[in-house]
Structures are given as C-alpha cells and as structure tokens.
C-alpha cells in the first residue's frame, strides 16, 4: 500500500530525473572525459612523452569517468553523477597544483617528484600559456561544474 501511495511521487521524480537538459550536461562531461583520455594517450603513446607522477594521479581521476558516466546516462541516474564528483574534485585539485607548479608559482623544492620524469617539464606550450596540466585543470573544472549543475537540476 505504501508503494502505491508513493507512486505519483516516484513518477514525478523519475520525470525530473529524465530531464533532457541534465542528461545532456552529463553527456557533455562524458565527451570531455573521452577527449581528455584520448588526448593524454596521444601525448604518451603516440608522441612518446612519458607521463610524470602528477599526470598519473590525474589519469586515475579522469579515466574512470569514461566508463562510469555512460552507466549514469543509460538510463539517467543522478546518484552515479553524485558518486563521481569526488573523483573530479580530486582531479581538479591535482591538476590545479600541477598547473601552478609548471607555471612556476610553486617553488621548485616543493615539487613532489624528484625521481623519474620531472613534473615541471614542458611538452606543449600553446599561445605561451596553455600547458598540458592547464588543459587538464580546465577539463576537470568544467566537468565538476557541469556534474554539480546536472545533479542539482535533476533533484526530485
């Protein structure tokens, strides 16, 4: 009986959850994650730039989105959207730190990786300021913002 009584409410929330705008936002996030993953693989596997430690931490936060977000889209599931936000926030923090490090805003002796591939190495520098960590930080920031927006808009 309880289930019956709640049915109109459930219907309502499911309608909200199918909100095409939220779906599109999460779909855009997935596209961004996909482009970020393929782009980073292009840098490392095709162009042969070895990823540094910080790059690997960002990959750990980005690559799962490529596989998990489609689950949140088919059908739309706002709880999954909520679940991946910690990943994107962590990615934003690492990428932000890395961007500052490469930009020289954090002193050399604070860099966490002295062995192996240096995290301050420049591989690309478009227009004098666009570096790989900056691209990563922009992607994480955008994905986080869009996911939060999608989560809020679809709230029952």
């Amino acid at each position: 009986m309880d289930a019956f009584r709640h049915e109109p409410l459930l219907m309502n929330s499911s309608d909200r959850a199918q909100d095409p705008f939220s779906w599109t936002l999460v779909f855009l996030c997935w596209l961004l994650a996909m482009v970020s993953m393929l782009g980073s693989l292009f840098f490392s596997e095709v162009m042969g730039y070895a990823p540094c430690v910080l790059c690997w931490y960002q990959r750990i936060c980005m690559y799962p989105l490529v596989l998990i977000l489609p689950v949140a889209l088919l059908p739309f599931d706002r709880n999954i959207v909520r679940s991946v936000i910690p990943l994107t926030v962590a990615g934003t923090l690492v990428a932000g730190f890395h961007t500052l490090l490469v930009g020289g805003y954090i002193p050399e002796d604070m860099k966490p990786c002295t062995q192996g591939v240096p995290c301050t190495e420049f591989h690309i520098n478009w227009f004098g300021f666009v570096t790989i960590p900056l691209l990563s930080a922009m992607a994480f920031l955008l994905i986080t913002a869009l996911l939060i927006l999608a989560y809020r808009r679809s709230s029952p």
Partner: protein, 216 residues
C-alpha cells in the same frame, strides 16, 4: 535507444579520430626522421660502428642491440634472412647498447673484435652461447670467453683493446646516441633513419620492404 546510439556513435568517432591522428602523426614523424637521416647520420651511425652487407647499399638498418638480450638473438637470423632476400640492397649497422647488467664488458669484447675485423663472427658465437653466459637477465662476461675460442681472435690483443679508453668511449657514445634517439629497449631499429611505427618483426620487414621499393 536514441541516447544509447548517440553515446556509441560519439565513442566510435572519437576513437577513429584518435587512430587517424596517430597514423598521420607517425607517418609525418617518420618522413621527417628519414629526411633528417639523409642530411646527417652522425647519431645513427658512428665511424667505428660495425657494418654488415654491401657498403653501397641504399637501405641502411641501424640496430641498437644488447648481446644479453634474448630478443636481439632471435632477431639476428631474421635480419639475415631479410638481407638475403634483397642481396646487396641492405646494410646493417650495430650499435652498442648495454641495457643489461654486465653487458658492457661483453660489448667491449665485441668492439675489440671489430678492431680485428671479426665483430660479426664473434657476435654469432656470443649469441649462440647466450643461454650459457646469462642468467636472470644478467650477463656473466667471464663465462663468454669459453665460447669465442673458435672465432680465431688474437685474444691477448683483444684483452688489451677491451681495457682501452677508445673502446670505453665507443660504448659511452653509443649509449648517449641511444638516449638522443629515445631508444629505451633493445633491439631498436631505424631503417634509413625511420623508427618502427610499432615494435615487431613484421613491422621491421614492412618498413625495410618499403625502403627497398623506394630506393631501387
């Protein structure tokens, strides 16, 4: 279902773009490497690098090898087959790449053998006995002496040459060139300066055949 299709199509397009991009990038890079090689071969071949085959051949394979590397040993007969298939059209150059522990001593031995004009004979003897003087990816150079007796080397001269600064310098130079050319594993090949698109014998064969076709 429309949503599902949208995701599938986007994924396919993005992956395709990645693959096409990778192929275009690699071929452009290979062309650039080939042109750079024709202008200046210094980092690829040094004057002391042992060569095999017709010195006037138009297709040059540069191999960075390690005598303790099993795959290098397996490639050796395959490369000889390839060279036999195109007689006088291919020349092979060997570069010293001590990536295994203990290999540098074996390479000094080989470089000293080259001074007696017996590099390739010695290399064959060293490869043939490889499993007897390597264990767990470590070379035990003191054991190699047992297997090069049949080559006909002047061993006293070989030992003296192995200690020379000249030969130590060759090994160092080759390692530095390997670093410049981004060689991270052995065997690594350059065919007229072009790296393999992906590592493997079939890829080497295809690249050599392309170069033979282009040159002759």
């Amino acid at each position: 279902m429309k949503q599902k299709n949208l995701i599938l199509i986007s994924a396919t397009l993005l992956v395709l773009a990645f693959i096409v991009g990778a192929l275009v990038y690699r071929s452009q890079k290979a062309d650039a490497a080939g042109q750079a090689y024709q202008r200046d071969k210094t980092t690829y071949v040094r004057p002391y690098s042992p060569g095999y085959g017709n010195p006037a051949a138009k297709v040059e394979i540069v191999e960075f090898f390690d005598p303790a590397c099993e795959t290098c040993k397996q490639f050796y007969p395959l490369i000889k087959q390839l060279m036999a298939k195109y007689p006088d059209k291919i020349r092979l150059y060997a570069r010293y790449t001590p990536f295994h522990q203990g290999s540098d001593t074996v390479l000094k031995m080989l470089a000293a053998a080259e001074k007696q004009g017996k590099f390739w004979e010695t290399l064959e003897a060293v490869f043939a006995a490889q499993s007897y003087w390597t264990s767990q990816h470590q070379a035990r150079p003191e054991l190699v002496w047992n297997y090069i007796g049949g080559v006909g080397l002047d061993l006293a001269r070989l030992k003296a040459d192995m200690e020379s600064r000249e030969i130590a310098g060759m090994i160092q130079q080759d390692l530095a060139d390997a670093k410049t050319l981004n060689v991270k594993a052995t065997p690594e090949f350059f065919v007229n300066g072009k790296p393999l698109p992906t590592w493997g014998y079939e890829q080497l064969k295809a690249l050599v055949e392309d170069e033979v076709k282009a040159a002759y």
